[in-house]
């Protein structure tokens, strides 16, 4: 009840800020990029607020509880992605002054075709990143309010579409900054208070996987409403709906009803959960399996290089007034993200000790939501659970609205006939704003329908694919487009197609067939270490053989790299 109230309060705050933002919206330029006059701290909080999605808020802790220390690479890569963005992209792209990735592609390579390819990639990445957010919404609202899955999906989809359509980005910038702090308090405060309340790590959590997760001193009761296939790691006696039963080590059973495990029994784990056993849980790298070096490096590469290619992140950089401001903003983002990412691991360690029933149910993803009340029964835990629920809500609404802004921007901008020149050409602001609003509504329908159908798809698989895809398409486009004069339109298209194809087929193979714990399986599940080099080599190779150079590369390079205050604006206006 308290949790539901907290979620409503967060939503009301977001809507209030959005409405307040609307009154500040004057022109389309406001609507798109908030007039480029928001201070670095606001901007950094907004970027971080948009970036920290359900995968960060719920997924890292859940995966960490499930797989152990190997998951710690994930937040590291998520944060370090902004370092790559800072080194290679932030300042030049801000100076260049294009609104969206397709805008950049077309203006840099003077080709409408490359714009269309880029727009398709934006819609793909954005759509597939949106689906797991809505899925997280369905699950969280389900836990908090006890509603069916579809209610949460539909409610959040509608709320986000409304905020974006009415507020545009000016509203959203303040909303996103607010959401960052909701999320950070939502994850940090309960973690700290719980650690104090428990007097540090409880005994079993402090073992860090030296033991299997097991039932606490007064036994463990798990209600399984649906039949659940579980595997017993050791010999066990238990009761199911009052009947005495026993299982031997390694045995698989399908259980339904009220399961009671006596104290000290190692809990059975749900099929697919594969809770790592013993000391492996505390090891970030192993010779094989889901934390093999190939997988770890591929994951780091995908997150490190993929962040710059997420469409909803880059558009926010245009709200910086100039290149140096974009750099300053990015450094602040690194700090804000680092602060947030200190805390998910706490939930993973505590969850392994205090909420072992999530292993049985295969629902480790909800550990952030369920842990407070398990660790501190009573009002205290309930209040803390309200905080984490509010944070989770902020996580998927903020990322969804950021994604929707770029999807709607791309739809309203690129789905129309290709215009010969850049962003500001021609049409009436009122007409464009109207189109943007319709696109915001239309852009939400597809992902919402997929989310309704894709209840069983793994959040981390979809998010991982988005990162791998971004790293294999937009990352080479940016790095080569910004730093190498020789990139041509054909090269860019070929490279994005090759990288995107390799990355997608790897993920598709993983979705269809169960991943095997081999090196090949790891490569298929996390293909970046192959697909990124393929994309780069194709782009360079095709560009070198291509005689048709884009026009105006010298002016473009000056616009990208020329520092502010040279008094060359006359040139840029002419170009």
């Amino acid at each position: 009840m308290i949790a539901a109230a907290a979620v409503v309060a967060v939503a009301a705050g977001a809507i209030g800020l959005g409405v307040w933002g609307v009154r500040l919206v004057r022109t389309t330029s406001d609507l798109y990029v908030a007039s480029r006059a928001i201070t670095p701290w606001w901007n950094a909080a907004a970027i971080s607020g948009e970036y920290l999605s359900a995968a960060s808020f719920l997924g890292i802790a859940g995966l960490g509880m499930k797989l152990g220390a190997s998951v710690l690479w994930l937040p590291l890569g998520f944060a370090a992605g902004y370092l790559a963005l800072l080194f290679f992209v932030a300042a030049p792209l801000r100076r260049f002054g294009a609104y969206t990735i397709p805008d950049f592609a077309e203006a840099r390579l003077s080709s409408p075709h490359v714009r269309i390819v880029a727009a398709v990639v934006v819609l793909t990445i954005g759509g597939f990143y949106l689906v797991p957010q809505l899925k997280g919404a369905g699950l969280t609202i389900g836990i908090v309010a006890g509603t069916p899955y579809w209610v949460g999906v539909v409610a959040v989809a509608a709320l986000v579409a409304l905020t974006v359509a009415l507020g545009g980005m000016r509203g959203v910038t303040y909303v996103q900054a607010y959401q960052y702090w909701v999320k950070t308090f939502g994850i940090a405060l309960p973690a700290c208070i719980l650690l104090v309340y428990l007097g540090g790590l409880p005994e079993r959590a402090a073992l860090f996987g030296h033991e299997l997760p097991h039932a606490p001193a007064d036994g463990l009761v798990v209600k399984l409403d649906d039949p659940q296939r579980v595997e017993f790691p050791t010999d066990a006696r238990f009761t199911l709906d009052g009947r005495q039963m026993r299982a031997s080590a390694g045995e698989e059973r399908v259980l339904k009803g009220r399961l009671v495990l006596p104290a000290g029994t190692a809990v059975p784990v749900a099929e697919g959960t594969d809770a790592e056993r013993g000391e492996d849980w505390a090891r970030p790298v192993e010779r094989s399996g889901p934390s093999s070096p190939v997988f770890v490096y591929s994951l780091l590469l995908a997150t490190f290089l993929g962040t710059m290619g997420l469409p909803h992140i880059l558009v926010r950089f245009y709200t910086n007034p100039d290149g140096p401001a974009a750099r300053r903003t990015t450094v602040r983002v690194l700090g804000l993200l680092g602060l947030f990412y200190l805390f998910p691991a706490v939930y993973a360690a505590l969850g392994r000790a205090l909420t072992p029933e999530l292993y049985v149910k295969g629902q480790t993803d909800s550990v952030v939501l369920e842990l407070p009340q398990a660790a501190w029964p009573g009002l205290g835990g309930e209040l803390l659970a309200a905080l984490t629920a509010a944070g989770a809500f902020a996580a998927f609404t903020s990322t969804s609205s950021g994604l929707l802004v770029s999807i709607a921007g791309t739809l309203s901008h690129d789905a129309r006939r290709v215009r010969p020149r850049g962003p500001a050409a021609g049409d009436q602001p009122v007409e464009r704003m109207r189109r943007f609003r319709w696109a915001a509504v239309a852009g939400m329908i597809g992902p919402a329908l997929i989310a309704l159908a894709a209840r069983d798809l793994d959040i981390s698989v979809l998010v991982g694919w988005a990162f791998a895809l971004a790293a294999s398409t937009f990352c080479p486009l940016f790095l080569l487009g910004i730093w190498w004069r020789g990139l041509t339109a054909r090269g860019a298209i070929a490279g994005m197609a090759a990288g995107g194809l390799v990355a997608s087929s790897g993920i598709a193979a993983t979705l269809v067939a169960d991943p095997s714990p081999t090196t090949l399986g790891a490569l298929l599940a996390q293909p970046a270490v192959v697909s990124v080099p393929v994309a780069f080599l194709t782009m360079v190779g095709v560009s070198l053989r291509d005689r048709e150079r884009p026009v105006g590369t010298d002016e473009t390079m000056l616009a990208l790299h020329g520092p502010e205050g040279l008094g060359l604006e006359a040139l840029r206006a002419r170009g």
Binding site: Y82, L83, F87, A282, P293, V296, L300, A345, M557, L566
Partner: protein, 111 residues
């Protein structure tokens, strides 16, 4: 490249840059190279730091089993201290990159 034959007087780098003369392009190419070198250096620093960790843990398994204040060392290393380090690398890079821009602006405008 330029629109027409320029006047014979010595020309400021700023004008050369604005008109896209071969001279101006050389100035710009030098800046781009300097910025790229800085970015790659920063990337190398970061990549060497983070990129060596998986190998380190793998090749030195004793480290994985070592506990410090009750927490395994690799967990301790990955969970907290790297985040401030990333910020420091970012901050150092930002200062140097802004300084390179500044130098370029001085060279081009005060001559």
């Amino acid at each position: 490249m330029s629109d027409g034959p320029g006047p014979p007087r010595p020309r400021a780098p700023r004008e050369e840059l604005a008109e896209g003369t071969p001279h101006g392009d050389v100035y710009l190419a030098r800046l781009i190279r300097a910025q790229l070198r800085l970015s790659l250096l920063a990337l190398g620093a970061f990549g060497g730091l983070i990129g060596s960790l998986p190998l380190l843990f793998l090749l030195w398994p004793a480290l994985q089993d070592l506990d410090l204040i009750g927490v395994p060392v690799p967990v301790l290393v990955l969970a907290a201290p790297l985040f401030p380090l990333i910020v420091v690398i970012g901050l150092l890079y930002q200062r140097r990159a802004d300084a390179l821009d500044e130098t370029f602006r001085d060279v081009v405008t005060h001559e």
